[in-house]
């Protein structure tokens, strides 16, 4: 699934590189793939239609920037639009000016309300609140027991009234929470089908009684096209303020989140990302967008490539590198970029034609980066520009100044030399074959630690094997 959409878009748009802009025909081809990807992710088909139309409008005529392939460019636009759509309103909870703040959880059976109630209590407790749980689920056998057990694990009081109706249970629960000085009350209601009129009436009555500060719809991330009907029905009856998305630790793409956001205009506020009680997080629209597109990693890469360096700086560096003029200043600068981008690839990716082949190289060891930085900063500006002046005594001084050994300084000097050589080779078009290059790439830093590039290349192999 990894970056499947990007690959498809790449093959749909691969021949576009020379043209410079995304023309109408190319965008149409791309939009077919986007549409399928969104449908496969369970985004409601009506929402897909609108969304694709909107993206098409934005994408046509867009300039293809040098650093991205046309496929990546389209993905970027789609991702930005998805993120904008999902994150354009506040994801925070509202807090009552006069406590307690009340949070009503509602949703279908099995969406994970009771577990979510426990997790939410723990999350809010971690933020300095004093939550209490109220069981208003008098339907499911043993639901109250489950909430009591969760409350025990979290360390929050649970108010439950075995008999009696939910409205009364909520009323009493809130009163008891007030008396006990709790400042947040989480109300766990029974799961119900949105088409079950009597139960929806009951939920509306609970809402009227509780006058909750927040009403959250608890939605299973695996929900299909039905999410729209569910959300609309709950919106009509209890007008929720936001969505708590559950079971995101599975591999569901979670298109339902987008559907609900688009149809009801209510934000996703929280996401449950694991079985354990501490696995509830505030919602990140960008992560969700990546997930729906099924392509987290590629996207991060695009963003990093863009953030790491501006266009002009890149051109200059590129030009110097290709001539084999690669000073320690350049080295340091590219190393700082690498920090944000991953090893070697960071520099190489900017060289036209190489980016795609180098996908998958992974992070450089952080310690090693700081060591490289320390060594270079211990050089004089002249030494950095003209590295060959660095003789034995200068090496000793640099090693002392950076808290490293002469051997490590030597390794770095050698690494720069290798790199400069390689850049020059590439500049002249005599690029060695890639696996060879990865293996022969300079090792930086020292000691018994395996080199960053070797580590990366073995990771890349693993990644390939997984696909």
């Amino acid at each position: 699934m990894f970056d499947a959409l990007a690959d498809k878009l790449q093959s749909a748009l691969g021949d576009l590189r020379g043209r410079g802009i995304l023309d109408e025909e190319a965008v149409s081809r791309a939009m077919r793939e986007v549409r399928l990807a969104l449908l496969e992710a369970d985004v409601n088909f009506g929402v897909v239609k609108d969304f694709v139309a909107h993206v098409r409008e934005r994408a046509v005529g867009e300039e293809v920037t040098k650093s991205l392939t046309p496929g990546q460019q389209v993905v970027k636009i789609v991702h930005e639009e998805l993120t904008r759509l999902m994150g354009s309103s506040d994801s925070r909870l509202a807090y009552a000016s006069r406590p307690p703040t009340t949070i009503l959880l509602a949703g279908l059976q099995g969406s994970g309300k009771t577990t979510a109630a426990g997790k939410l209590a723990l999350l809010l407790q971690g933020e300095g609140r004093k939550p209490a749980l109220v069981a208003a689920d008098l339907q499911r056998p043993a639901a109250i027991d489950q909430l009591i057990q969760l409350g025990g694990q979290v360390g929050a009081p649970v108010y439950a009234d075995e008999r009696g109706d939910p409205v009364k249970a909520v009323h009493d629960g809130i009163e008891r929470a007030k008396a006990d000085g709790r400042d947040v009350v989480i109300l766990d209601t029974a799961g119900r089908l949105h088409v079950d009129e009597p139960l929806m009436d009951e939920l509306a009555a609970v809402r009227r009684e509780a006058k909750p500060t927040n009403v959250l719809l608890v939605l299973d991330a695996m929900t299909g096209q039905e999410a729209v009907n569910v959300a609309q029905a709950f919106q009509e009856r209890i007008d929720f303020d936001g969505v708590l998305l559950t079971k995101l630790d599975g591999d569901a793409r979670g298109g339902a989140a987008l559907s609900v956001r688009a149809i009801t205009d209510r934000p996703i506020k929280l996401a449950s990302v694991g079985e354990k009680l501490d696995a509830l997080e505030w919602f990140h629209p960008d992560r969700m967008a990546s997930r729906i597109l099924g392509m987290g990693d590629v996207l991060t890469l695009i963003e990093r490539a863009e953030a790491a360096i501006d266009e002009q700086e890149k051109d200059e560096l590129e030009a110097r590198m290709l001539k084999g003029e690669f000073s320690f200043d350049d080295f340091l600068r590219s190393y700082k970029m690498l920090r944000r981008m991953g090893p070697l690839q960071g520099v190489l990716k900017m060289i036209p034609g190489l980016g795609k082949q180098l996908e998958g190289l992974d992070d450089v060891d952080e310690k090693q980066l700081s060591r490289v930085e320390a060594i270079i900063l211990s050089m004089t500006p002249h030494e950095r520009r003209v590295p060959h002046v660095i003789d034995a005594s200068r090496r000793k001084r640099i090693a002392a100044g950076s808290g490293t050994t002469v051997e490590q300084v030597n390794q770095l000097l050698e690494a720069r030399k290798q790199m400069a050589k390689m850049m020059k080779l590439m500049g002249s078009g005599k690029m060695p074959s890639l696996p060879g290059m990865a293996a022969g790439a300079p090792t930086m830093g020292g000691g018994p630690r395996p080199s960053a590039t070797r580590k990366a290349s073995s990771k890349r192999k693993k990644k390939k094997a997984r696909r």
Binding site: E40, S111, P141, D251
Partner: protein, 316 residues
């Protein structure tokens, strides 16, 4: 004619559900399926469907997608309909093709004494409720049942199952919370053998199919059952919530790899969800649906009848 429990359980003198009964289920299923704003082919108005019109095909595709049938199975259905050429009655043709993808009406393998039914699925699909109803149905058909609470993870899961077992008149085997699920399953099977019971139904904790350690735990439950009784479990049922989208296919695939799923139970069909994901599960993985849940009541668990379901799915 709807499929009866007698047929599902492979009883020698089994007859289809009497017309009245079957009709009731059919209309009930259809009612619930069409409760959504738009039934699957709602927009299509069969008479107006023109096989020569590209837009009509597109509307058909959209209707199937909206029913969670998914892109690939939709493409397959459309391909089959196109191959028919003649489409005077689109609804019936579509129902036939959907039923065709599901294959023959299945049976539940409970001939062995005792038979073991392992029930698995992701969290919140209704495993425990399904087991309660199944136990009750089996009892009503003269089979003595032991239910095993091998869900040792979820708070209060055991209490819930015990309540159901009591209602169904079944024996109950439980354990401490946090105990070993395989041990519970083993104890239950042993108890059934000692007491001469007919069927053991093993409830397991809901787990996401991506949690490898939990899937491994499930595989162990299966191994332990097989070690105690050759051929066990005789059925491994995956419970899928009808509101599930395309992730249902992935669930069926990964649970299948871990424990060899033999059939699907499609629950919560009483909402407006159509459970269309059962179609790609059958089409892509060849897994039959064996039971459907259409409501909260004990008798709302029903044998699955492919054509019946297909008709309810596509007709207004």
């Amino acid at each position: 004619m709807a499929r009866s429990w007698g047929e599902l359980l492979g009883e020698a003198d089994a007859a289809p559900e009497p017309e009245e009964q079957g009709g009731r289920l059919f209309s009930r299923l259809r009612d619930s399926l069409s409760r959504s704003r738009r039934a699957l082919t709602g927009e299509l108005a069969a008479a107006a469907f023109d096989p020569g019109n590209e837009a009509d095909w597109e509307r058909l595709e959209e209707a199937l997608i909206a029913g969670d049938v998914g892109v690939r199975a939709t493409a397959e259905l459309v391909r089959r309909l196109e191959a028919r050429g003649e489409l005077a009655n689109l609804d019936e043709a579509l129902a036939e093709e959907v039923a065709e993808l599901f294959g023959e009406p299945p049976t539940l393998a409970i001939a062995h004494r005792p038979s073991v039914i392992l029930v698995v699925g992701v969290n919140g699909t209704g495993k425990t409720t399904t087991i309660g109803k199944l136990a009750s149905r089996l009892s009503a058909h003269g089979h003595s049942v032991v239910v095993a609470a091998a869900d040792t993870f979820r708070a209060a899961a055991e209490e819930q199952l015990e309540i159901w077992a009591e209602r169904a008149g079944a024996d109950f085997v439980g354990s401490e919370r946090g105990g070993d699920p395989a041990a519970v399953a083993y104890d239950a099977l042993q108890a059934a053998q000692a007491r001469g019971r007919d069927v053991v139904i093993v409830d397991t904790a809901g787990r996401l199919h991506t949690q490898t350690n939990l899937m491994e735990e499930l595989a162990k439950v299966r191994r332990v059952l097989a070690g105690r009784l050759e051929g066990a479990p005789h059925e491994t049922l995956l419970v899928v919530d009808a509101t599930t989208g395309q992730n249902g296919v992935q669930q069926a695939r990964l649970f299948g790899e871990a424990v060899g799923v033999t059939g699907v139970v499609l629950t919560k069909l009483d909402g407006s969800a159509k459970g269309g994901v059962a179609i790609p599960i059958a089409y892509e993985l060849g897994l039959p649906v064996k039971l459907v849940g259409v409501g909260e009541q004990l008798d709302d668990l029903r044998p699955f009848d492919p054509l019946d379901y297909a008709r309810a799915l596509v007709q207004n």
